[in-house]
């Protein structure tokens, strides 16, 4: 470290550097020089493509045809919003998001609570529980496809030795969506656990001490101290997870490819089919824009609710 940092901080703050005109101008130039490269990359790789998609969403463009794009106004949007297919995919997505996020919130919080009550080996336990979250969705999808295989999968094998019949996990209409929820829960429970653990460990000890002087019951302490303090943090975690689950693609692709039939075809997967199998680029773009809008609008409402909760 350079010697300059050894200077007492007080000296510096008591005589702040005179914000001369030249310094301010050079500061501004430096800020611009430091920020603009990053912004340029984002403009080129995020904003420009998104604007392009917005433009395409009003056309009948197809990536495989050489024909120029025709402007069709809002037709793509109307088609999507009135399509029964899309309504069904939306329902599938909703079932999946609600099911998976609920399951992983309950499980994740329970694990965090159990860990926070242990005195020994908590660091190790936490690290072990985090493993699934760090793996690639491809790897996770393959793991589970192998384990859920109807013929020789280890899950059915264990069910068999328990005397329970075989289950067609990935090929049954109902069980495929359930499998998807289970796998997503397996991968992302650690995320909720991590956030909940952060919240649980941040609860000030004096609150518990005060409660134990009052001889408050365990449940009372949990209900009136632990939960209210962890709740806002947990809700943020739920939002992150819901957004991620809403745009889930890779796991569906690997695990079920939307099947059997269309029973696990989420909105994301449907966009992919429209764009890369049907090559209706214009429609797919409109679809995508709508999905982005849904995320933004719902997140705004949710955040407003969160803020109200914090103030209240």
């Amino acid at each position: 470290m350079t010697t300059t940092t050894d200077h007492p901080v007080q000296e510096a703050s008591s005589t702040p550097p005179a914000p001369g005109r030249t310094r301010r101008r050079s500061d501004r130039r430096l800020a611009a020089a430091f920020i603009s490269p990053a912004m340029l990359l984002l403009l080129a790789m995020s904003v420009f493509p998104l604007l392009w998609a917005l433009y395409l969403s009003f056309t009948d463009y197809s990536a495989t045809r050489d024909a120029p794009a025709h402007f069709v106004g809002l037709r793509n949007y109307v088609d999507i919003l009135t399509s029964d297919q899309v309504h069904q995919r939306a329902l599938t997505t909703l079932l999946y998001v609600v099911g998976a996020v609920t399951l992983q919130t309950v499980l994740g919080f329970s694990i965090a609570y159990l860990i926070s009550r242990r005195t020994h080996g908590r660091g190790l336990l936490t690290t072990l529980f985090l493993v699934p979250m760090m793996l690639s969705p491809v790897v996770v999808g393959l793991f589970w496809r192998f384990m859920l295989d109807a013929q020789f999968g280890v899950v059915n094998s264990m069910l068999g030795s328990l005397g329970i019949g075989q289950v067609e996990w990935l090929t049954g209409q109902r069980t495929a969506l359930l499998s998807l929820i289970v796998v997503d829960t397996w991968q992302w429970t650690p995320f909720i656990m991590l956030i909940a653990l952060a919240g649980l460990t941040a609860v000030p000890n004096y609150l518990y001490e005060a409660a134990s002087i009052d001889r408050a019951s365990e449940w009372f302490r949990f209900r009136n101290i632990t939960l209210p303090l962890v709740w806002p943090l947990l809700l943020i975690a739920v939002m992150f997870r819901a957004i991620e689950a809403f745009r889930l693609f890779d796991l569906v692709y690997i695990l079920t490819s939307g099947g059997p039939g269309v029973s696990t075809e989420t909105l994301s997967f449907h966009v992919y089919k429209v764009a890369f199998l049907g090559f209706n680029t214009g429609t797919a773009s409109a679809y995508g824009i709508l999905m982005v809008l849904v995320v933004i609008v719902l997140a705004q409402f949710y955040l407003r609710y969160l803020n109200k909760l914090k103030e209240g």
Binding site: T5, A12, L41, I111, S136, M147, T201, V203, R247, S285
Partner: protein, 302 residues
């Protein structure tokens, strides 16, 4: 301060542990330990199973009922990951190498662009700073399947399709928002008075950043870079739609390609999954202290 798993954990509601035990809560404690153990086993079983499968002889892989112990051990699957059928390098090992290049360079790029930007956002009064920062974050919330359509068209126009550079650029663009948000938190923690003091000593603003602040940021930069590295390493959607040829393709689509045929060599899948996951687990272990800040883009702080 970013929440650290190791440090924060012992500070939990421990003190109420003692009275509970004294009141004869040991039965409940036993129940809790059993529950926790069961959950840990359930969470880790798939990982153990894939490791076990990767060293099994083929006939044991497909054995019904499944063999948990007493199977024949072989390292053939791992050999198949790296060595091709007729000797020489296998396609999988090429894709692993591609993954190393793509993840490494994109992380480097994201760090080089993101860290200075984070410093500038933290230190200067930038116009419409809040909106700008929120805009930067919002680019991360777009569904990848949606972004990939225009990116695909754009890359086709400029000839970046099926190139490592194309993947590097898109991964860097995805990691820059994350780097800026996480690094801004780290920069905020370094008192700006240090730089002021350095400038009183005659350093310019830039020198003050370079000589004084940057060295203090090194641990934060390392943690952020590892997160970016893990993201690029694991990414699948862009990788599968923007690349097609064997010598460009990264490992995730290559591994996914193993299940394309009518019969699947699950031993090979297990071995390549294990090889692919190993670096991530090592890296994750290295950044465990910054995990909460990392996975939530720094949105959850204490």
């Amino acid at each position: 301060m970013a929440i650290s798993v190791d440090e924060a954990v012992p500070a939990g509601p421990v003190p109420d542990d003692q009275p509970r035990v004294r009141r004869g809560g040991s039965a409940r404690s036993v129940v809790e330990v059993v529950l926790l153990t069961a959950l840990a086993v359930a969470m880790l079983f798939p990982v153990l199973w894939i490791l076990e499968t990767s060293i099994k002889e083929n006939r044991d892989v497909y054995a019904v009922p499944a063999k948990f112990f007493r199977f024949d051990v072989t390292l053939d699957h791992f050999k198949d990951v790296f060595v091709g059928r007729g000797g020489g390098r296998s396609d999988l090992s090429t894709s692993f190498l591609n993954s190393v290049v793509v993840a490494g360079v994109s992380t480097l790029l994201a760090t080089l662009l993101g860290v200075p930007a984070a410093w500038a956002f933290s230190r200067f009064a930038v116009r419409a700073k809040k909106d700008l920062l929120f805009f930067i974050l919002s680019t991360r919330f777009m569904p990848p399947v949606v972004v990939v359509i225009p990116i695909f068209l754009m890359y086709r126009e400029v000839g970046l399709i099926d190139s490592k550079l194309g993947l590097i650029l898109i991964y860097a663009a995805f990691n820059v928002p994350f780097t800026i948000w996480m690094m801004k938190g780290f920069v905020d923690e370094v008192p700006s008075e240090y730089e002021d003091a350095a400038m009183l000593d005659g350093y310019t603003r830039l020198q003050a950043f370079w000589r004084v602040t940057l060295p203090l940021l090194v641990p934060g930069i390392a943690a952020t870079a590892v997160f970016a590295l893990i993201f690029s390493w694991n990414e699948f959607v862009f990788a599968i739609f923007l690349t097609s040829s064997q010598d460009v393709r990264t490992a995730p689509p290559a591994i996914a390609g193993l299940i394309g045929g009518t019969t699947v060599d699950w031993g090979l899948v297990a071995a390549s999954a294990a090889v692919f996951a190993l670096p991530v687990l090592v890296f994750a272990y290295l950044v465990r202290k910054h995990l909460v800040a990392g996975v939530t883009l720094g949105a959850v702080r204490r």
